[in-house]
Symmetry: C2
Subunit: 224 residues, 2 copies
């Protein structure tokens, strides 16, 4: 005897509608809908039918349910529009000739913030002390960072060799992003772009490390 399958194979129209509703509801209220709310919105008169479909969706692996718990459901996989975000405050701009703002000096007035999925963040930098700066001007081009880019920094005073840091060079009145190397007679600041030459800083010159670059984001929507 042949096994019976669902009348309309895969996801029926109602399955789809329910998934979409859960998604949009959760997007709006930050918590899942109740069975009755789903029924109301999807024109399903009985709670048992909603339950019926929810079970199927769970069997399909599109949904997880916490039985007995109110609103205890969650979309799984790519349907899930929600996830861990890190909100990183944009404390200001970084540009040549201007000192870099760091959280302490900035009077704590994040003009804006950018949201980063924690899944994007390098392993252990998920601390809450990250901050972001918007790059102004093209003076960071040798660091492969363009006008308008957003750099995300972790405030540190010291860096290890090979880390990209934001530094303020007093003697040059210059702010730059470079790879940092401590050497016997001072420091070497290496541009990300190998076609540029490193800056050598002698031990007696002052060099203030303001932060360690964790991420660079470029939105390419100019001209739109």
């Amino acid at each position: 005897m042949m096994m019976m399958v669902r009348k309309s194979k895969g996801l029926g129209e109602r399955h789809q509608k329910i998934l979409e509703f859960i998604e949009s509801y959760q997007r709006e209220y930050q918590h899942p809908p109740s069975i009755r709310e789903i029924g109301e919105h999807c024109k399903i008169s009985s709670t048992s039918v909603v339950n019926y479909y929810l079970d199927q969706l769970e069997k399909e692996g599109l949904l997880e349910r916490d039985r007995k718990i109110s609103r205890g459901m969650r979309l799984v996989g790519n349907n899930n529009p929600l996830g861990d975000l890190l909100r990183v405050p944009v404390l200001g701009v970084i540009q040549a000739g201007e000192p870099i703002l760091v959280p302490d000096e900035a009077g704590f007035t994040p003009e804006d913030s950018v949201e980063i999925a924690t899944s994007l963040m390098p392993s252990k930098e998920k601390g809450k002390d990250l901050f972001a700066l918007k790059v102004q001007g093209e003076s960071m081009i040798d660091a492969m960072v363009n006008d308008g880019d957003i750099v995300i920094l972790k405030p540190v005073q010291d860096a290890r060799n090979g880390e990209m840091v934001a530094v303020w060079l007093n003697e040059r009145s210059e702010t730059t992003l470079k790879y940092y190397y401590k050497e016997k007679d001072g420091y070497r600041l290496q541009p990300a772009n190998p076609q540029f030459k490193p800056i050598l800083i002698k031990k007696n010159e002052s060099l203030q490390i303001k932060g360690k670059v964790v991420m660079v984001i470029r939105k390419v929507d100019r001209y739109n």
Copy 2:
């Protein structure tokens, strides 16, 4: 008479603990905890006390509540760890000398995916057809894109002047990222870095636009 303030100004220890619990609970279950669950975990014996604190947190603007609705609360502002994510599939790599994969040709096997906060996305590119490629090699340096960067693309066949596109140049067997300009006698592909010279393509040479660059993400966690 002086106004009375809370015993411990600002957020008390319990306020903090409750916020943290809601955050971690929601991170795990994708839905908020019930009042009783909060009480249990925060060593608060009475539901009314939890309610008491929740009211205060709402008054402080750190929480929003949907009264009468089970688990009807959400963290607001920077405490909120949840938000809209877009999951963009990483279809492969982009490198000089290799054709670019586009969704159709890729056999739809996203090896991996990156999550982007929708708030980061340029206005109208929030469609679900975006895809991402990992940059391999340093051949895109003139586009300010480095080895290991992730570029997020929107699959298009045509582009408007000024848009950054990923193209396959048949005559050169080359894949590149450039700003696109159509001119009277062909096309001009302008590097993002002004220190590089544009590539001029004659009308009879073939030029395949594979996608329009929407975003570039660079994780700077090498050497860690």
